[in-house]
Amino acid sequence: MRSPHRSLTRRGLLSGTLGTAAMLAAGGALAGCGTKGAQQTEAGCKSDDLSGTEKKLAFSNWPQYMDVDEKDESKRPTLDEFVKKSGIQVTYTEDVNDNNEFFGKVQNQLAACQSTGRDVMVLTDWMAARMIRLGWIQKLDKAKLPNVEANLLTSLRNRSFDPDSQLAIPWQSGLAGLAYNAKVTKEIRTVDELLTRPDLKGKVTALSEMRDTMGLLLQSNGHDPANFTTAQFDDALNKLKKAVASKQIRKFTGNDYAPDLAKGDIAACIGWSGDVVQLGFEDEKIKFVVPESGVMLWSDNMLVPNKATHRANAEALIDYYYDPAVAAKLAAYVNYICPVQGAQAEMEKIDPDLASNPLIFPDEAMLSRSKVFMALDEKQEKEYETKFQQVIGA
């Protein structure tokens, strides 16, 4: 028997749904006109500190950025020590894999002045600068950070995005410079060699992190990455463009250059000191080079975002990691540049080899050749990033 009402056909349903969706779309688009600005101010977005009553802390960090026990990887000696000493329970999460992705993860909450559920997060300079610019980061109380005040490396003070060192405290630092695999190619000394030497054609990678690659290129042109003009940036970018067009540069990478360099698929690259130190332990033919024109110094910084409710606990943690003895234990595991003065002396007790490694404890000569990329405003950031992305292909 035929159904007494109009039967529901696939086509009918489809067109009905599409029609309704289209109408909703038009109406909704009109209703939801644009987005609100993400800019926050200290007065507009106040955060309560419940540290007095809640002895806990949520800490977001990058993978393999914390010392673990040699026998039991689930134990983190320095962090456990902090918990024991302070009585503050730390929830440690390794959920930062990429600055941009992490930004995408927290931006909606922070733009709306809501809690991200994190008390401390570790992000690279430029992302820290962006978040500070947007007013998303809480100011720390310097009186509670005596170790930081005493022990932060001089070259990491006075950074343009945080001149008083009370918004972003370096967790670990590192250099962006040149690296090569001596099994595949002979020594490389300068950025220009990397970009033009014919035997390296197609066997070179550069970092997709604009500040690192462009900072090195600016320096190779004799310009200062901490203070440059648009014309100087364009000059450096043209140099990069030529190297891409001549197929000298094979691709732009994040951390993924490391296995390719070890395999010899790429002979030389722009890379990070920490990766290269670790590769060097396995294969001494992998070498890091500080180019004569200068090298980029970057840091990953501990930030306390707005609406994090345990600021005082976070300050206790930050200060704890600026105790030279603690910093040395951490540096012995992660092999990046230790931002804590005095840790080198402590490292002598743990591992004298590491203490004399200039890529963990750089000497004055090296630090004097290192630069921190200038803080960009929103317009510059978009302009430079767009130009750079066009050259690197996206």
Binding site: R2, S3, P4, H5, L8, L13, L14, T17, A21, L24, A25, G28, A29, G32, C33, G34, T35, K36, G37, A38, Q39, N100, E101, F103, G104, Q107, A111, R133, L134, G202, V244, K247, I249, R250, K251, F252, D256, K263, G264, D265, E378, K379, K382, E385, T386, Q389, V391, I392, G393, A394
Partner: protein, 304 residues
Amino acid sequence: MSALAHVPAASGQSSAPPPPPRRGRHRLLPYLLLLPGAAWLFVFFALPLLQLAAASLYDPAGSLSTGYALTWAFGNYPDAVQAYWPQFARSFLYSAIALVLALLMGYPLAYAIAQKAGRWKNLLLVCVVAPMFTSFLVRTLAWKTILSDNGWVVGLLRDVHLLGPDGRLLATPIAVVLGITYNFLPFLVLPLYASLERLDPRLLEAASDLYASGWQAFRRITLPLSMPGLIAGTLLFFIPATGDYINAELLGTPNEYMIGNVIDSAFLVRLDYPQGAALSFLLMAAILAIVFGYLRKAGTEEVL
């Protein structure tokens, strides 16, 4: 309406009409059954799509800190095309080449599994599906190792002089197209297999009884009968392959970047939301146009 009028007349005076609540429930039942799916689609597909449509018309001068105003900036679309048409063209080119390669490999494979494999059928099917048990990313990374400059594949190709002494596969368009072909092949093979499996061998016997050559039998019987699977398979292959960016990212260089890479960078790196949204919509529109054109030409109702 005529049916509705007919019902009470037919039941006559003898019996009472059926109780109305039951009929009401019956009428609503299909909609109730659709409700969970429709709600899901609405919240996770229609609403985000709407948001994306609005974002594509934001004022391009807006920024994260000041916010974006909806100014119906239709100019975002031509601007995006002008800036990134090469990546668009490349996306369609690569996925089309990969589709042809996949058809050349996938059709015989599906046919063999469906018709000739005998007791090996299930094992072969598992072989096709098994790689899907691992992550897409892991599979693509494995290709990086396979095609490595110092790997045996490149070594062999150099030895037989198909590649020059300095030749390489990684970081070339070849690697990207091969990666796409490999990664999406199962999406093509499985629907094809489903169609070919139902193919009645007696039809082919009849064809040969009627003096059809092998090729004629294939063209007049096998191919038409496998059309639904072929169409579903090509669509399932082509649509994700065109939007893919992992293969270009891992196996290619900036010169091989596809439109997916550009959209990824627009949203995550450059924070140019209007342009990213406009590019996403253009990609969707282009794919829809191709799909509808294809379906019209192929003339099937089986897929939609």
